[in-house]
Subunit: 341 residues, 2 copies
């Protein structure tokens, strides 16, 4: 790779499809994401999969700031899409990577992001096999937006679905909640203790595959990103037409996260996570699931936080508070936290 | 669908992952892209494919203006990704759709774009199976950017690759060149005869599948988008290490396109197309390929424009002009045409 000058910047021509795009791909993309499929630079990547049952997902990432404690937009773009494949019961295989870059964006920052993507892809055992780079004029986008799409192979014998959920099933969260969202917000707001907050941004496929390969009682999984635990549980409740009860003392929250949320006036239940999953599991398998989680570095704070119950009137999510009270956990409206991922 | 008020606009909360996102998906997305896979609204879409050999691709679309003669950003986002799958020798099956929308964007325009995506997906026999909606503050993006990724199933027995190309192979273009790029540019520049220019934006999989299923001599295909015919042929020449000769009189160009290019100072060979492919075919199969193209509405202006020749010194693309002269067709630098797709 040629050395980058601190003052090198992205030009519109980098996205023009001509010589400069060609050089950009050869200098910046290929050396970082070396694999036989990508190296062919075809219009599409050719994949030879283990199965005809595949999972397919996409997400765009517009997080602000681009770099934050515990991650950056690049790591997020890999882990977020890996996690969507993981919680669907698949083993992530390949990702696409599409960049929309503002003219004038510092090449040095782009290189940091690409390095981070490369590292995260390696850690998560996925290849970046297809890509696209578009440039827009200064002012037409803010720095950089990244889209990843992903393909995973369904794990044999695994078939998750909300329709499998029944009253009595236990709800497991794989670790502490609110870390990602509060890290982003506090870095944006520049609050005092921001350096102690750290995003949980991580790829979960290693843990979810282990869980699904070793326990048969997992019925459904979801990663509580935008909208947090509150949105994810409400979606599960609506889709399954069953109610959910969660116990406040069992929900793992770091004290610093709780303090930041209290200070900024947020409900941690509605805050985005980027390295956690919710699993709905049969009561018989709950302990085994918890044990597997706790033995994994990304699941060491896992907890059984509640259970699925019959719906009385309409399906609701209820929180049983520390003092034994009950409150409805509502679907967040969605106004609070733009550009969290 | 609820009736949209002319003054309804996209709010940041539409991308927040809460109630408003949920309603947006239920009102705007699901009714338009109805299919069983999408309806599950899982973190990933589950696909049961016909084969383990799949093609996977992605593109982001940042075209400006959003609406142009012959298409719009939505149609482009479907056709562009369909075409990348098509020229790789696959039958497109499923697309993902990811929107990055500027706060304040008119809901009415978004609905027009979503309708167009829905129509294009139906015409191209692909399902939109996965999606994502992100919103950014006013000024942080220009109106809307769209990413689509696509999955296609390799056609049985078809194996395209630059390494199969040999001297003597014929080069077919499926129709007139330059229509898309010059339409966009002339609408941006607001030139007089813009209304007579029309983008060729179209999905090519119907034609490419027909070709590949009926002729065995197709060796490689590419769609000459950004950088036009000049970039695509230069890429093929570099990758195959063979030279290419094309004959100026055989290259189909609409007179109005040539006139616009002359007026604006562009070389039509470098202008983007969005509904054309280049096929490199064995000399024996060239006539049959041409016939199949000409019998299809999207290939009626197809033409054999030249052939692959041995490299003398370095691989080059040469144009044999109308008067028998020769000039090197260079890889465009990439500076001319931002936001063409």
């Amino acid at each position: 790779m040629m050395k980058t000058n601190k003052r090198d910047r992205i030009l519109l021509a980098h996205g023009g499809g001509g010589q400069l795009t060609y050089e950009f791909i050869r200098r910046q993309i290929l050396p970082r994401f070396k694999n036989d499929t990508l190296a062919k630079l075809g219009d599409s990547a050719e994949l030879n999969l283990d199965s005809k049952s595949v999972c397919f997902t996409t997400d765009s990432y517009v997080v602000k700031p681009l770099f934050f404690n515990g991650g950056d937009i690049g790591k997020l773009a890999v882990c977020g899409t890996v996690n969507d494949l993981a919680v669907a019961g698949s083993r992530p295989v390949a990702l696409s990577l599409s960049l929309i870059i503002e003219e004038g964006f510092e090449l040095e920052l782009l290189e940091k992001i690409l390095d981070s993507i490369s590292r995260a892809a390696k850690e998560n055992n996925v290849d970046i096999v297809a890509g696209d780079t578009k440039t827009v004029e200064a002012g037409a986008a803010e720095k950089i937006f990244i889209n990843t799409a992903g393909v995973g192979v369904k794990l044999p014998g695994v078939d998750l679905g909300v329709e499998k959920i029944a009253a009595g099933d236990k709800i497991i969260i794989s670790g502490t909640i609110g870390d990602h969202g509060l890290t982003i917000i506090s870095q944006r707001e520049d609050i005092k203790f921001q350096s102690k907050l750290r995003s949980d941004c991580a790829g979960l496929a290693g843990l979810t595959c282990k869980l699904l390969e070793n326990v048969s009682g997992v019925k459904f999984m979801r990663d509580p990103t935008r909208g947090g635990l509150a949105a994810a549980l409400n979606e599960i409740s609506r889709a399954s037409e069953l109610s959910i009860e969660i116990n406040e003392p069992d929900i793992p929250i770091r004290p610093i996260v709780q303090a930041a949320a209290d200070m900024l006036g947020f409900d941690v239940l509605t805050i985005a996570n980027e390295g956690k999953f919710i699993a709905i599991v049969s009561p018989q398998s709950a302990k085994k699931c918890l044990k597997i989680c706790k033995n994994h570095p990304l699941g060491k704070d896992a907890s059984i936080i509640g259970e699925v119950v019959e719906t009385r009137d309409v399906p609701v999510v209820e929180l049983i508070t520390r003092i034994g009270g009950r409150r409805i956990v509502q679907m967040p409206y969605g106004r609070e936290l733009p550009r969290i991922c």
